[in-house]
């Protein structure tokens, strides 16, 4: 929920409660005031009548008999409300009446004075309507003003947010913001700029570290590999025992260097060091890779079918990562296959699906994406292929999923774009 909506909600709640209370208080206050006014008028009329009675005059006859009635029999005394029929409007109308005893020409009489409350109601109605309308307009005005102000005052904040959303640390750029007049936002922007400076510095340091670590590790590996290859050329290597030892060393070196390359790639993806992108022609890439891997397919008598009818449009990936993604998917399908099995690659505008025959694998499929997860513990492969696939998927926001069809014994890896 937006901040504005939230504050407005509280404003509205407060004003509504206040309005309700003020309305009730106003109504009863005004009503009481008007009634006491009516009562005062009635009491004035009584004084007038008493003065007349004291002089021994008869009570004046009034043309509106409902305003004054005189009775020779006692009536309840005091003020009370009553309803009388209005002859003109043919409806019951509220009256305030005042009954008091009076000696008229020596005779005890009970006089009742009445005054209509209809005018009072009308006045009350008008006053309340005017007041409530004004209050309502005020409320509306406050809400609108608030909204407009929020729109204006929060504009720099939204700009900051927009900048942050499109900020990637691998761009190697310190965040800058236009000057803002609101202190709080200026402070926020300053802090963000400082934060981004630190981030850029840290990122740069980490990038350098990864590059240096890769370099420092690869160099001795390269030396070992080259020396071992030279060693294999020596005539002494005709000795099978020596040849076996050297070959084992050589193979272990290759394995180590392959592992190192895969780990470096993974950490680089995690550090988001692949900012560059190029348009990806997935169908072409798949065809190229399939051709490259043909000898491996032949060696295991695998049949590869490519269904590349439609490819996703507008995909942009780092060329190296695209290559790695396709390579690892295909290699995985070859590695975990059975002799004479099949691999089916299906490309649609929404997804790339690689499925292969293969023995059922026990264990949690979610763990296949973890590092160093191997199907066979003794395998020479370090078990990083699917981790790389998943990391590349994560990097570009492509969900990668795995399914196994026990009936046909098919493993399917699916990358959705």
């Amino acid at each position: 929920m937006k901040l504005l909506t939230k504050t407005n909600r509280y404003y509205l709640l407060l004003t509504t409660v206040l309005f309700a209370l003020a309305g009730v208080a106003l109504y009863y206050g005004l009503y009481a005031a008007l009634r006491s006014e009516v009562e005062e008028q009635l009491s004035n009329a009584r004084l007038h009548l008493e003065r007349r009675a004291a002089t021994g005059e008869a009570l004046t006859a009034t043309p509106f008999e409902y305003q004054l009635s005189v009775s020779p029999v006692p009536r309840p005394l005091g003020y009370r409300d009553t309803l009388l029929l209005d002859a003109q409007e043919q409806e019951m109308v509220p009256f305030r009446q005042f009954t008091f005893p009076l000696q008229v020409q020596g005779q005890p009489r009970w006089v009742t004075l009445r005054k209509s409350l209809v005018e009072t109601d009308d006045v009350l109605g008008v006053v309340l309507t005017v007041l409530l309308t004004v209050l309502g307009l005020l409320l509306l005005g406050v809400v609108l003003l608030n909204r407009w102000l929020a729109h204006r005052l929060w504009a720099p904040f939204r700009h900051t947010l927009h900048t942050l959303r499109h900020y990637g640390v691998q761009e190697n750029r310190v965040l800058t913001f236009p000057p803002v007049s609101t202190d709080e936002f200026a402070e926020l922007n300053d802090e963000l700029t400082r934060l981004s400076q630190r981030l850029v510095a840290d990122y740069e340091a980490m990038r350098e570290f990864t590059a240096n670590a890769a370099h420092e590790t690869q160099t001795p590996l390269a030396i070992m590999q080259a020396k071992l290859e030279q060693m294999l050329q020596l005539p002494e290597l005709a000795n099978p025992a020596l040849a076996a030892l050297t070959t084992d060393l050589y193979q272990a070196t290759l394995r180590l260097s392959r592992l190192h390359q895969a780990l470096t790639l993974l950490s680089k993806i995690e550090n988001r060091q692949f900012a560059e992108t190029a348009p990806l022609h997935l169908a072409r890439l798949l065809r190229e890779k399939a051709q490259q891997l043909q000898p491996l397919l032949d060696a295991r008598a695998l049949t590869l079918t490519l269904d590349l009818a439609a490819e996703p449009v507008g995909l942009r990936l780092h060329p190296g990562l695209a290559d790695s993604l396709v390579h690892n998917l295909l290699q995985n399908a070859i590695k975990h296959n059975v002799r004479g099995g099949t691999i089916a690659v299906q490309l649609t505008p929404r997804a790339l699906e690689v499925s292969n025959t293969g023995p059922a694998i026990s264990g949690d499929p979610a763990r296949f994406f973890e590092r160093f997860q191997k199907h066979e513990a003794a395998s020479a492969s370090p078990g990083l292929g699917l981790s790389i696939v998943q990391q590349i998927g994560r990097y570009y926001g492509f969900p990668v999923s795995y399914t196994f069809e026990p009936a046909t014994s098919r493993h399917t890896l699916r990358v959705r774009f």
């Binding site: 590059a211 070992m224 080259a226 040849a243 390359q261 470096t264 560059e276 000898p295 060696a299």
Partner: protein
Amino acid sequence: MKLLLVEDEPALRTTLMDYLRQSGYVCEVAGSYEQAREKVKLYEYDCVVLDLTLPDGNGLDILRALKADGSRAGVLIISARAALDDRLAGLDLGADDYLTKPFHLAELNSRLRAIIRRRQFQGHHHIAFRDLLVWPEQAEVFVREQPLTLTRKEYDLLLFLLANPNRVLTKEAIAEHLCGDAVDSADSFDFIYTHLKNLRKKLQEKGADNYIRTMYGVGYKLSMD
């Protein structure tokens, strides 16, 4: 064939130098950016094997200098930086090829030969080995003057062997040469065996000598004698 090898790591430099001299190149070495800079300014080379990470400079600048001088030398980058961006930058600047350390020596030689072939002979070049004659640009192979039909992979394999005569080529180096770095389990080496068997059979059908030797457990060798 004159080469300049730019590599700062002494152990790797001597190994590479020995290997390249054994393979018949005239090989000069430079251990630093400054040395390399001086040598490419003073002398002409057929090809420069260039390491990118040098203690006193970036190898890419040497590549830039070569290109700025309009040098005819081919450039093969060797770098421990597996950074894909470096590879792209190097190729963009006009390098002929790129090898990531660690690499197989045989692969280095095969790439060097391809570069030199492209640059120096413009296709008018053939490789002769005993009773074999190969025209690489046309991808034609003759055994005792009779044309030999090979599959793409068999041809690649033969060319790889011819680039490194009289050297033991490991199964790993051959596998990587033929299908990238996809090969990482022992049973995937079977295909090399199949391809070699077919290649040998085709050569023998045309009456070629049996000069592809199997070095048991290690790899194969194209024997000169």
